[in-house]
């Protein structure tokens, strides 16, 4: 599961640009994730501040 730390996010949109599933949207000053997320982790890697994280379930 992917999580966003809204307190860290600088709303730059880099994560949206690299998302191959078109599952992230930057809306004014926050980002929203859709269930199309394939948990590839590209967004977490590219985030300049580490606001996105993939959490392993179970």
């Amino acid at each position: 599961m992917i999580t966003v730390d809204r307190h860290k996010c600088g709303h730059c949109g880099a994560c949206v640009g690299v998302c191959p599933a078109n599952a992230i949207e930057l809306i004014n000053r926050w980002i929203e994730l859709s269930d199309e997320c394939i948990e590839c982790g590209a967004c977490a890697k590219v985030c300049p501040v580490g606001a996105l994280e993939i959490l392993n379930e179970g």
Binding site: G10, H11, C12, G13, A14, C15, V16, G17, V18, C19, P20, N22, E25, L26, I27, N28, R29, A42, A44, K45, V46, C47, P48, V49, G50
Partner: protein, 393 residues
């Protein structure tokens, strides 16, 4: 907002505003939408731009010029400096802008030319009919709307959705994006006459750190790294380290983050009824990351081509291919060269970067262009001639 326009432009950055202005000047009915509540804010940019590049689009005004610099200095990992004068250094050096005011000034130009400007207005999809883009679906202040148009111009930046909705794959590979962090700093000691660049695999893997004067005691101090080399290391952490070493007593007035596409232009920047401009079309220079002038240029061309297409009643890709032909002939070759240079320089070891800097440190670059610099490099480093050969054509 009306139900129908000739042109809807999505995104009011420099590319979108110039596109809207240009289209409105050609007597088209234009809507320019911006999802943010404030045009130009938050900033996501180091704000450096070449003087000549900008002058053809807007008369320079003190209100949006934070500083003027004489040149650029590039520091190799061991601190060897290569200096270039402002007019030779390329598209990111000359003025350091105040983007919040600059972007607003450009949107104002669009409005004065007759375009309708709407903020807090976000596109959420496209109206597609018979393989043609025929309008935009969106939300304004939380309320749904649809608006029809014969031509849509996607100027929605690094996070572009417009292209994807029309079936153009705009996804950036991690090796094709620079992930950046920047502080606007004060109380720091720097040379106000230069934009400084620091390269090296320790400092900024696959990218560079920068210090761009902002007037007075302020400067944009930032750092970008290639996405493929990020992950464990974050641009923000490297920036904090850079600042701790360089300006331990400096104060941070603003934190800015951003992603810069360095893939080179998309293969396809048009669809039936659609053109993509600026960062949405990945027009930023892959070596410098500079994107403002290319965004304005492609915005202008798109505005002109929209007018022509509408006057002929044909907005098919065939008609809009003039847009692709024109931007290719204007900036296609330099962008291609920059992309090749990026592939070479982002893979270089610190030893190689140092050796290159040493080989040309005594050369007078005051009258040298970027190509001249490359020629000098090759002359003194025959071994890299093969890798760099394409750049000298």
């Amino acid at each position: 907002m009306k139900d129908e326009y000739d042109v809807v432009v999505v995104g009011a950055g420099p590319g979108g505003s110039i596109a809207a202005k240009t289209a409105a000047e050609h007597d088209l009915d234009v809507l320019l939408i911006e999802k943010r509540a404030e045009i130009g804010n938050p900033v996501r940019c180091a704000e450096g731009v070449g003087k000549e590049g900008i002058k053809s689009f807007i008369k320079p005004d003190r209100s949006w010029i934070s500083a003027e610099v004489k040149g650029a200095r590039i520091y190799s990992p061991d601190g060897t400096a290569i200096e270039m004068s402002e007019d030779m250094a390329g598209p990111e050096v000359g003025y350091v802008l105040e983007r919040k005011i600059f972007d607003r000034a450009l949107a104002l130009q669009a409005a004065r030319a007759g375009a309708e400007v709407m903020v807090k207005t976000r596109a959420t999809g496209l109206i597609m009919e018979d393989g043609f883009v025929k309008g935009v679906k969106g939300k304004h202040f939380g309320d749904d709307f649809t608006v029809r148009a014969s031509v849509i111009i996607g100027a929605d930046g690094v996070e572009s959705k417009v292209g994807r909705w029309a079936g153009i794959d705009t996804t950036l590979k991690l090796s094709d994006i620079e992930t950046c962090a920047q502080f606007l700093m004060t109380d720091i000691d720097f040379n106000p006459d230069y934009c400084d660049f620091y390269v090296g695999n320790e400092i900024a893997p696959g990218g560079y750190a920068w210090i761009f004067p902002k007037g007075g005691h302020e400067a944009n101090v930032g750092l970008g790294i290639l996405g493929s080399r990020a992950g464990e290391i974050k641009a923000m952490d490297l920036l904090k380290r850079f600042v701790k070493e360089k300006f331990p007593d400096g104060q941070v007035l603003e934190i800015i983050v951003g992603g810069v596409p360095v893939s080179g232009p998309l293969e396809r920047t048009i669809a039936n009824g659609l053109m993509l401009v600026g960062d949405a079309a990945r027009m930023a220079d892959p070596i410098t990351g500079g994107g403002i002038v290319n965004a304005m240029l492609t915005g202008q061309i798109a505005g002109e081509v929209a007018a022509k297409a509408l006057s002929r009643g044909d907005t098919s890709t065939k008609a809009l291919s003039e847009y692709e032909n024109r931007w290719k002939s204007a900036i296609g070759a330099p962008l291609k060269n920059s992309l090749r240079a990026k592939e070479i320089f982002t893979k270089m070891s610190d030893e190689k970067l140092n050796a290159l800097a040493h080989s040309i440190k005594d050369v007078d670059f005051s009258e040298m262009t970027a190509t001249g610099l490359l020629r000098a490099l090759v002359k003194r480093n025959p071994k890299i001639l093969w890798e760099l050969r394409h750049l000298l054509k």
